[in-house]
C-alpha cells in the first residue's frame, strides 16, 4: 500500500466521524431552527414585504399591491411626527439608561457591603422589576393624577399647588423617565451586583493597605473592574428602552400633544388605530434596523469581554 492509500485510510474514518458529528448537531438544531424560522423569520419577511404595499385593513385590494413599492419609505422621510418620535425615543433612551446605570450602580455597591440592613433590603429592590409592566403603569398613573394621588393630597396639605406631570408638556417625558427608571434599575443593579460578587478582594485590600480611601477604591478599582459589565447592562437596557410601551400607553397616550410619543407608540397608533399596516411596516423595518445595529454592538461587546477573560 502506497503513501496515498494510507493517508486516505487515515482520513476516511476521520471524515466519517466529522460528518456524523456534523449530522448529529444539525439533527439537534434543526427543530429549533424551524421554530425560529416560523416564529421569527417568516413574520419579519412578511413585514418586509408588506412595507412595500399600501396595506390597510379597511381598504380592500391593498394587501399585495406593489404598484408604488417605495412610497412608504418616501413618506417616512417627510413624516415629521415620525421624526419627532425618534427624537423623543432618543431622549427617553439616553435618560433612562444613564439613570438606571447610575442608580443600579450605587445600590449594587451599597448592597455589596453586606450589612444586615442591605441584606434585608436586597429583595425589596427587585419588586418593581418583577411586577407586570401594566401594574407599574397603573401605580404611576395613580401617583401622577392629582385627583386621586396620595402624593397630591400631601402636597395640598402642605399648601403646594403642583401640576400633574403627565399633562404638563415640560414634565411629561420626565414623568415617564422616572417611572421607567423605577421599574428597570433593579435589572442593572442585579447584573452589577453579580459582577461585584465575583470581584477579587485582593486588589481592594491592597489599595486600602496603601492608604486609599473608600472613594478612591471605588473610583480607581471597582469602577474600572465594572466597566465591561456596565457597558453590557447599558446596551441591554438601551435595546429594551426602545420597546417602552405600557407606561406611555397608560400614563400619557403619547401626549400632551406628541411630547411622549416614541417610535413604537407611533407605529402602534398607525397600525392599530388607523390600520395603516403597510406604512407602519415600513417604519417598523427602520426600527428593526436600529435594534439590529444595537444588538450587533451588544454581541461584539460581550464577545470582546469574553476574549479579555479568556
Amino acid at each position: 500500500m502506497g503513501d496515498t492509500g494510507r493517508a486516505a485510510m487515515a482520513e476516511g474514518p476521520r471524515r466519517t466521524f466529522a460528518s456524523q458529528q456534523n449530522r448529529f448537531f444539525w439533527t439537534l438544531l434543526s427543530p429549533v431552527l424551524v421554530v425560529l424560522g416560523v416564529v421569527t423569520l417568516l413574520p419579519t419577511l412578511y413585514l418586509f414585504i408588506t412595507s412595500f404595499t399600501p396595506l390597510s385593513l379597511a381598504t380592500p385590494g391593498t394587501a399585495w399591491n406593489f404598484s408604488a413599492p417605495f412610497s412608504n419609505y418616501k413618506l417616512l422621510l417627510t413624516d415629521e411626527r415620525l421624526h419627532n418620535s425618534l427624537w423623543v425615543q432618543a431622549k427617553l433612551s439616553l435618560a433612562t439608561v444613564v439613570l438606571q446605570l447610575l442608580l443600579g450602580l450605587v445600590i449594587a455597591i451599597l448592597l455589596n457591603m453586606r450589612t444586615p440592613l442591605m441584606n434585608a433590603l436586597r429583595t425589596s429592590f427587585l419588586i418593581p422589576m418583577v411586577l407586570p409592566p401594566i401594574v407599574v403603569a397603573i401605580i404611576w398613573k395613580v401617583l401622577y393624577s392629582p385627583d386621586i394621588s396620595p402624593a397630591w393630597w400631601l402636597f395640598d396639605w402642605l399648601g403646594w399647588q403642583g401640576v400633574s406631570p403627565i399633562t404638563d408638556a415640560n414634565w411629561a417625558l420626565a414623568a415617564i423617565i422616572v417611572a421607567d427608571t423605577w421599574e428597570w434599575f433593579p435589572f442593572t443593579m442585579l447584573i452589577l451586583l453579580a459582577a461585584l460578587s465575583q470581584m477579587p478582594e485582593e486588589q481592594r485590600e491592597a489599595a486600602r493597605i496603601d492608604g486609599a480611601t473608600s472613594w478612591q477604591v471605588t473610583l480607581y478599582i471597582t469602577l474600572p473592574y465594572l466597566k465591561g459589565t456596565l457597558l453590557v447592562a447599558g446596551l441591554f437596557r438601551l435595546i429594551d428602552s426602545i420597546k417602552t410601551f405600557p407606561l406611555i400607553y397608560i400614563l400619557t397616550d403619547g401626549g400632551p400633544g406628541t411630547v411622549t410619543e416614541v417610535s413604537n407608540y407611533y407605529i402602534f397608533s398607525q397600525s392599530f388605530n388607523y390600520s395603516y399596516i403597510g406604512y407602519s411596516s415600513a417604519v417598523t423595518m427602520v426600527l428593526v434596523l436600529i435594534v439590529l445595529v444595537l444588538s450587533w454592538a451588544v454581541i461584539r461587546t460581550v464577545s470582546g469581554k469574553g476574549h479579555d477573560h479568556g
Binding site: V163, L251, G255, P256, F272, Y274, S275, Y276
Partner: protein, 461 residues
C-alpha cells in the same frame, strides 16, 4: 353567512339540546318575548330556547351598560343563555374592536358600534346586516318595532346598500351640565347662553379652594367640535363627499384657542388626562362645575345616588357662538360581527336590550334617559322624569336631537376616516392647552397631518 350556519346553535341542535323549531317559537312568543314586554302564548312563556349557549359581547364602559347588567339576569333566565360582556375604556375598546373586526375575528357574538367608528366598521362590511332577522317573524318578536327608533339615531348604522347593521342603545345629545349652580347664582350668573357669558362665568368661579370651573374628559375629538362649529369652523369641507380637512381656518384657530383655554385656565388639575369617569366624579363631588358632554354623562349629576350635587345641578344648551349653536349628537349601538358564531342568539340579546320595555325600565327605574326610542321619549312619565330641579331637560334633549338631525352637521363624525382626523384634533388641543403651540400653529399642524393621513388612506384630496 346566514343564520343557518350558526355553529353553536347547530352544535346544540346536533346534540339534541335544543330544537330549531323550539328556538324560533321561543323567540317569537316565548320567554324572551315576555321580557321584551310583548304578549306571548302561555304555553311557550317559560321556554328557554338558548339553554346552554354562552354569548360573548364587547362594549366600552358606559353607564348604559351598567343598567343593562342590572336587568341581564331576567334575560338570561328567560332565554337560557349566559351573556358575558367584556368592558374596556372607550379608546382602548375602539382600538381592540377595530383590530378584531378588521382581522375578521369571531371572538364576539355582539359588539358595541361606537359612533365615531360606525362609518368605518359598517362601510367596510365588518358587521352582519340585520334586515333578514328583522323581517323574520320567527325570530323577531311582533311589536318590537324597528321604526320606533328616532330616525336620526339609526342613520349611522345603515351601509351604502341601505342595509341595517346595528341598532342604537343611546341617542346622545350634548348639553351643558352645571353641578354648582348655587355658586353660579351667588356670583350673579344664570345659565350662560353665549360663549362670552360662559367664559365670564368660568373666570368668576374658578380656583376658589381648588374648585374647577370647567371639567371634561380627554376625548377632544368629541368635546371640541361643537365649539369649533359655534365659532364658524368645521372638520371637513363637505362630509361625506368632500373630505378635505378645514382645520387651519381662522375660525378653527379661534375656537381651538377658546376651548383649550377652558381646559388650561379653568379646568381641573390634570384635566388633559381625564377619562369620562374622572370628569364625572369631580362633578359628582362638587369639585368642578361645568361640563359639556352627552346627556348620559351629565344626567348622573341628578340621578346618581352618589351625587352630592343633586339639588344644585342645572342643565342648559351648550352656549352658542357667533356662528350659532351646533351641539353634538350621536348614537351608539349594538351590532353583530360578520364572522360571529352565534348570530341568532346575539340578535335575541340585541332585541331584548333595545326593546321598548328594557329602555322604559332603564329610563324610569334607573335614570338612563338618553333613549333612542320615540315611544319612550313621548311617554308622559318619561317627560316627567326629565323635569329636574324645575327644568324641562327633555326639551333640551329633543332640541339637540332635532337640530342635529335636521342640520346634518354631525356627518363629519361617521365618515370612515374620522378617527384619523379626530386624533389630530386631540393632539392639537393638547398642544395648545399645554402651552406647546399657539392655536393657529397647532391647527395648521393638525391640518397638515390630517391631509397626510387621509392620503395614506387613499382619499383623493
Amino acid at each position: 353567512m346566514t343564520r343557518f350556519q350558526d355553529r353553536t346553535t347547530a352544535g346544540a341542535l346536533a346534540q339534541g339540546k335544543v330544537k330549531r323549531r323550539t328556538i324560533l317559537r321561543g323567540l317569537a312568543g316565548g320567554g324572551i318575548a315576555t321580557v321584551l314586554g310583548l304578549k306571548a302564548p302561555a304555553v311557550l312563556a317559560n321556554s328557554r330556547p338558548f339553554e346552554g349557549v354562552t354569548l360573548q359581547g364587547a362594549c366600552f364602559q358606559h353607564v348604559f351598560h351598567e343598567h343593562v347588567k342590572a336587568y341581564l339576569p331576567e334575560f338570561e333566565e328567560a332565554s337560557g343563555m349566559k351573556v358575558q360582556i367584556d368592558f374596556q375604556a372607550f379608546p382602548v375598546y375602539n382600538q381592540r374592536m377595530d383590530l378584531e373586526l378588521s382581522t375578521r375575528g369571531s371572538s364576539y357574538d355582539f359588539i358595541n358600534i361606537t359612533f365615531p367608528y360606525s362609518g368605518r366598521w359598517v362601510g367596510a362590511g365588518w358587521l352582519h346586516p340585520l334586515d333578514d332577522f328583522i323581517a323574520d317573524a320567527n325570530i323577531t318578536a311582533e311589536g318590537w318595532d324597528a321604526d320606533d327608533f328616532v330616525s336620526g339615531t339609526r342613520a349611522p348604522f345603515f351601509n351604502a346598500e341601505g342595509q341595517t347593521c346595528g341598532f342604537p342603545w343611546e341617542a346622545g345629545a350634548m348639553m351643558a351640565g352645571y353641578a354648582r349652580f348655587d355658586l353660579m347664582e351667588a356670583a350673579g350668573f344664570g345659565i350662560p347662553e353665549t360663549l362670552e357669558e360662559f367664559e365670564a362665568m368660568n373666570r368668576a368661579l374658578h380656583g376658589k379652594d381648588g374648585f374647577a370651573a370647567y371639567v371634561n374628559d380627554k376625548l377632544h375629538h368629541w368635546n371640541f367640535p361643537p365649539y369649533l362649529m359655534n365659532f364658524g369652523g368645521g372638520v371637513f369641507r363637505g362630509a361625506p363627499e368632500d373630505l378635505m380637512p378645514i382645520l387651519d381656518t381662522a375660525e378653527a384657530a379661534e375656537a381651538a384657542h377658546y376651548y383649550a383655554a377652558l381646559l388650561s385656565d379653568y379646568g381641573a388639575r390634570g384635566v388633559l388626562s381625564f377619562t369620562d369617569d374622572q370628569a364625572l366624579r369631580m362633578q359628582l363631588n362638587g369639585q368642578a362645575n361645568a361640563r359639556t358632554n352627552a346627556m348620559a354623562w351629565v344626567l348622573p349629576l341628578t340621578q346618581s345616588p352618589d351625587s352630592k350635587v343633586r339639588e344644585t345641578t342645572r342643565y342648559g344648551m351648550i352656549p352658542r357662538g357667533k356662528a350659532g349653536s351646533f351641539p353634538g349628537s350621536n348614537a351608539n349601538g349594538y351590532g353583530i360581527p360578520a364572522e360571529a358564531r352565534q348570530k341568532e342568539a346575539a340578535w335575541a340579546f340585541i332585541q331584548w336590550a333595545t326593546s321598548k320595555e328594557t329602555f322604559r325600565k332603564i329610563a324610569l327605574e334607573r335614570g338612563g334617559l338618553a333613549t333612542p326610542r320615540r315611544s319612550i321619549i313621548d311617554d308622559p312619565e318619561y317627560r316627567q322624569r326629565l323635569m329636574i330641579n324645575g327644568q324641562d331637560v327633555a326639551s333640551i334633549y329633543l332640541k339637540v336631537l332635532e337640530e342635529a338631525g335636521e342640520g346634518g352637521y354631525m356627518k363629519y363624525r361617521t365618515v370612515p376616516v374620522f378617527p384619523q382626523v379626530g386624533d389630530k384634533l386631540n393632539k392639537a388641543i393638547e398642544r395648545i392647552a399645554s402651552g406647546q403651540m399657539s392655536a393657529a400653529d397647532a391647527m395648521k399642524a393638525a391640518q397638515s397631518e390630517a391631509i397626510d393621513d387621509l392620503r395614506k388612506a387613499g382619499i383623493a384630496l
